[in-house]
């Protein structure tokens, strides 16, 4: 931030809870500034009247506060020294370490030319059967956990991140409680993998509008490693619902007309701009995004999960399974849209058949359960399906499972043989001959 570009003003014309307005000349759209030392960004220019969004909130800002314009958009210093470090929403170290030297790069940069992308084709194994077997993750994919606030989504995400075979993990924490922040930090530290992790964190102690910078910061760092260094990068974003809430605060302060659920009309584009940074590059580098979208009472028709679902390549649902007392990855509502690109290709030939059949049988068990609840008699098949479902849930769907895909397939075949005849499976004959009862 060279001093020569800085321009200083000392008179504000208007102040709202999130924005200030002042008369200034030659101001650039998206330009970064400070208002009384707090970082702010230009969001509206009308003649000489410039509106700034103040990330830290405007409490205590006076009309004679000093406003300094920097002549550039928010940016991040990128270099290999980012590894192992913790930063705030502005990219400033919060781990007591030194400032990172490196190339100065604007955040929220351009999109990849769709014609230059290549089709994702590499599985990201996590050891969790609810994911690897039924909703396989693929390098370059973007997928959120849809979870109620009481579910252990951050724990599952940390587990996935640590098991995934990637070069860098970048955590973008938005509105993390201090406890969760420390949890991530300790988990990464204990795993001895801190050197390949980079974190950008906004905790609940920090002003909510600052969160808006987190995904762009995290993804600018991700693009540095994926594009410049050809590395496989996994980006974790939690919690995107709090990000969207911050968007609605700002749009409200700017007098924009809200659309569904008080969200700004541009919510879809705003979220897409983040998620679409997930990419498989021809050079081998990739960005995979795993996010968390917390739901309110499991309602996925709310604007935030709804728009997210239209953007991301599937979603993962966590659920407390009362039959086994475990947290499982719900096989019905979860979906990985890219799984077809790897299953049966990078995994064993029977993967697709085993997956579909197990879910179908699990659905039969759900029907049997309804029948039971409605007071109808259960057939022998119904009873077997119920027993199967319980074991399947315990041995495979539970999030504490950690085995490879072939073991998952074998475990499922064992359950098939234990509870069902070959005919009841109705799997392609050659596969049944090869794997049933072996």
């Amino acid at each position: 931030m060279a001093q020569a570009f800085q321009r200083i003003y000392t008179r504000l014309e208007g102040i709202t809870k999130a924005t200030v307005a002042l008369n200034a000349q030659r101001v650039m759209n998206d330009e970064l500034a400070t208002v009384d030392g707090r970082l702010a960004q230009v969001v509206k220019i009308s003649g000489d009247l410039v509106t700034l969004q103040v990330f830290g909130g405007t409490e205590g800002i006076a009309t004679n506060s000093e406003v300094v314009f920097f002549g550039e958009a928010p940016s991040l210093h990128v270099s290999d020294d980012l590894s192992g470090r913790f930063f705030d929403a502005y990219g400033r170290p919060i781990d007591g370490g030194p400032e990172v030297e490196g190339e100065h790069r604007e955040i929220g940069g351009p999109s990849v030319n769709p014609y230059r992308r290549i089709q994702p084709s590499q599985i990201i194994p996590t050891g969790i059967a609810g994911i690897d077997l039924n909703n396989t993750l693929v390098s370059g994919q973007k997928i959120p956990f849809f979870a109620d606030p009481d579910q252990p989504y951050n724990q599952v995400m940390a587990t996935v991140a640590l098991r995934a075979d990637v070069d860098k993990i970048i955590l973008g924490g938005m509105g993390l409680t201090n406890d969760d922040y420390l949890f991530f930090r300790q988990t990464f530290e204990n795993a001895g993998k801190l050197s390949r992790i980079i974190s950008f964190v906004n905790t609940t102690d920090d002003p909510p509008v600052e969160r808006l910078l987190i995904p762009d910061m995290a993804l600018t760092a991700a693009e540095y490693f994926a594009v410049d260094k050809n590395e496989k990068v996994l980006v974790l974003l939690t919690d995107m619902t709090l990000y969207a809430d911050a968007l609605s605060i700002v749009s409200n302060r700017m007098d924009q007309i809200p659309s569904k659920d008080s969200m700004p009309g541009s919510l879809y584009s705003d979220l897409a701009k983040i998620y679409e940074k997930a990419v498989q590059l021809p050079s081998g580098g990739s960005i995979t995004i795993i996010a968390v979208t917390t739901l309110s009472g499991g309602d996925i028709t709310h604007a935030i999960p709804d728009n997210t679902g239209y953007i991301t390549e599937g979603q993962l649902f966590l659920r407390h399974d009362t039959d086994t007392g475990k947290v499982i990855v719900d096989p019905f509502r979860s979906l990985s849209r890219l799984k077809q690109l790897v299953i049966g290709k990078q995994t064993r030939e029977d993967h697709n058949h085993v997956m579909n059949t197990a879910i179908r049988l699990y659905a039969d068990a759900a029907d049997a359960k309804t029948k039971l609840e409605n007071g109808f008699d259960l057939s022998d098949y119904d009873l077997r399906a119920l027993d199967f479902a319980k074991e399947y849930s315990f041995q495979l769907l539970s999030i504490d499972v950690n085995i490879n895909v072939t073991e998952m397939l074998e475990r499922t075949w064992k359950l098939f043989a234990k509870y069902f005849t070959k005919e009841e499976l109705s799997i392609r004959e050659d596969l049944v001959e090869k794997y049933y009862g072996n």
């Binding site: 759209n29 220019i45 009308s46 990849v112 014609y115 370059g140 879809y268 897409a272 709804d306 679902g309």
Partner: protein, 587 residues
């Protein structure tokens, strides 16, 4: 000759820029904002005195008050000429293939047509002939497709051919004809013409009602709710209900000469799938690679929002251009909701009074006038050309009572409702057989077409089949309330007849090499067989015997669907079915 209008930037909110101008401007005129050494394209969307609002097709980061603006003097245009086919464009018709680097660069505009390539031109008119806009002057081969070089659509009135070039190789910019207007002015014509995308191309004699059916190979569409050639349809559905898989299936199989895929505000990886697979996949009808008949207009969700709106217009204009050559074009737009959202974002920034869900008030009018551009037309020379249009809609929360779905429903004739319930139960394609409809089934022209092509019973049997499905659904509800034993056996039989139609006709495996696409002849054969079964009266001891019987029947019919049509295997299953039926059908 008027001088070029220029202006200065006065205000910026996201991609809406206000400009003070020094001369005349037109609504929807294109202008360029000069930012360092790049120029950012923008479109005028409101004029008020000397102040003009423009939506910028790029990121406005770094723009300042006082930046210089030049006006282009025309609306958003595309270039029309040989070389469009099999291209990959963004929403503004920039060629994505020839762009440098991994990232899209702001202000980089690439040429949609190859200026160096030569085309073998064959004249179709003689000196002295009288011509009007849209008339064919000559033709070149664009790969396998005959590409007509036409009198530019902007040329109103009649002209006489003063000169037409001899057969030979020319680049698109060489003059191939000289036309003389009524005042005697000579106008040179090349193989390229320009057209403003927001205007419909109407260089045809008339637009009759659609009178024939366009096959898609998707049974639930072709058999139950067919779309007419030159017709309009739309597919609304919540996320995960299979909109994109269905659109891709139609893109692969539909009986059209040209497929225009407008990826409007959707996932980039879905377009990558087309980029990757279409050059490899073979079109069963012609034996050619699918990419040879496909053009992609791609404005994914992370690309500039204003260009998203332009992308559907660009795609429609290219379709109309090929229609004027006498070809059958099919436009698939995924998703028109994203386009409507782009309109909403702009309307919001311009502080217009909002309509329902904050969408602009004129949304229904915009949607219906856009769908109205589809249609089959009779050209000036008597040949036929068509644009069939199927759009997808992504209703918020999967709720069909929202402005985009409702407006689109009024503007289209086919409605393919994707049901979450069917998707959850893996019944794909998840088109709900009861909620969906095709108005074309009521067109006398279409009824006549079916009578001639598939026989007089066909239309009646469609209604009959739909009735079996409806009855089955009612029976299913009763069984759920009263229990298996609580209803007469007849209810179970009705239910299973509808399941038979569902499993064998409505459900289709888009990933199976044989089942993915069913030609009409095979559809008629199978459907007639199924309806014959439904007409039978059956005798069963109890409901368990009934369901066991139909499960077996469905299984064999399914194997038939997976077998090569009329193969040994196919016929063997057919014999099995007859044998099974003979046991239970009442004499």
């Amino acid at each position: 000759m008027q001088t070029q209008t220029t202006g200065k930037v006065r205000g910026i909110i996201a991609n809406l820029v206000t400009i003070e101008v020094d001369g005349p401007v037109a609504q929807n005129e294109i202008c360029f904002i000069h930012l360092a050494d790049t120029r950012l394209m923008a479109e005028v969307i409101r004029v008020s005195g000397k102040s003009v609002s423009a939506q910028v097709f790029e990121s406005t980061r770094g723009l300042r008050v006082g930046d210089h603006v030049t006006f282009a003097g025309h609306m958003l245009e595309v270039q029309l000429g040989p070389g469009l086919l099999s291209s990959n464009y963004d929403g503004l018709q920039n060629n994505l293939t020839t762009m440098d680097g991994v990232f899209l660069k702001r202000g980089e505009y690439t040429d949609p047509l190859d200026r160096e390539k030569t085309w073998d031109f064959k004249p179709l008119v003689r000196t002295g002939d009288t011509v009007t806009a849209g008339d064919w002057l000559g033709e070149v081969m664009e790969g396998w497709l005959v590409h007509r070089i036409m009198v530019p659509f902007v040329m109103t009135g009649t002209y006489s051919v003063e000169k037409i070039t001899v057969e030979g190789s020319y680049t698109v910019d060489e003059t191939v004809a000289v036309l003389k207007d009524e005042k005697g002015t000579s106008i040179p014509v090349t193989m390229v013409q320009r057209w403003p995308v927001k205007r419909a191309i109407t260089a045809y004699k008339q637009k009759p009602r659609p009178y024939k059916v366009m096959e898609t190979g998707v049974r639930t569409i072709d058999t139950f709710n067919p779309i007419a050639e030159g017709g309009t349809g739309f597919i609304p559905g919540p996320f995960g209900s299979g909109k994109t898989v269905l659109q891709h299936a139609i893109a692969k199989q539909a009986e059209a000469d040209i497929i225009m895929v407008a990826a409007c505000g959707e996932r980039a990886n879905e377009v990558v799938e087309i980029f990757t697979e279409f050059p490899k996949l073979i079109d069963a009808r012609t034996g050619r690679h699918l990419m040879e008949r496909t053009t992609i207009i791609c404005n994914t969700s992370n690309m500039p929002v204003a260009a998203r709106e332009a992308s559907v217009y660009t795609a429609m204009t290219l379709c109309e251009y090929y229609r004027a050559m006498g070809h059958r074009a099919l436009l698939l737009a995924d998703s028109t909701s994203r386009w409507a959202q782009a309109l909403r974002e702009m309307s919001n920034r311009m502080e217009e009074l909002p309509g329902q869900d904050a969408f602009p008030m004129d949304l229904p009018a915009i949607i219906s006038s856009f769908y109205a551009r589809a249609g089959i037309v009779e050209l000036n020379n008597g040949e036929l050309g068509s644009v069939t249009f199927i759009g997808t809609v992504s209703p918020a929360g999967g709720n069909l009572k929202e402005p985009v779905t409702e407006s689109t429903q009024k503007a289209t004739r086919c409605f393919y409702a994707l049901s979450q319930n069917r998707a959850d139960r893996k019944r794909y394609p998840a088109i709900d057989p009861m909620d969906s409809y095709s108005k074309y089934l009521e067109y006398p022209e279409i009824i006549k077409y079916y009578e001639e092509k598939l026989g007089p019973e066909w239309i009646d049997s469609i209604w009959e089949g739909k009735n079996y499905v409806r009855r089955g659904k009612e029976a299913y509800e009763q069984i759920n309330i009263l229990g298996d034993d609580g209803v007469p056996l007849e209810y179970h039989i009705n239910y299973w007849k509808s399941e038979l139609i569902d499993f064998i006709i409505l459900q289709q495996d888009a990933f199976d090499s044989i089942d993915a696409s069913t030609p009409m002849e095979r559809q008629q054969y199978m459907y007639t067989k199924i309806i014959e079964v439904c007409r039978q009266a059956f005798e069963f001891e109890d409901f368990e015997e009934c369901s066991a019987f139909f499960k077996r029947l469905i299984n064999i019919f399914r194997q038939m669907n997976y077998s090569e049509y009329m193969s040994e295997e196919f016929k063997r299953y057919e014999t099995d079915i007859e044998e099974l039926l003979s046991q239970k059908v009442q004499a």
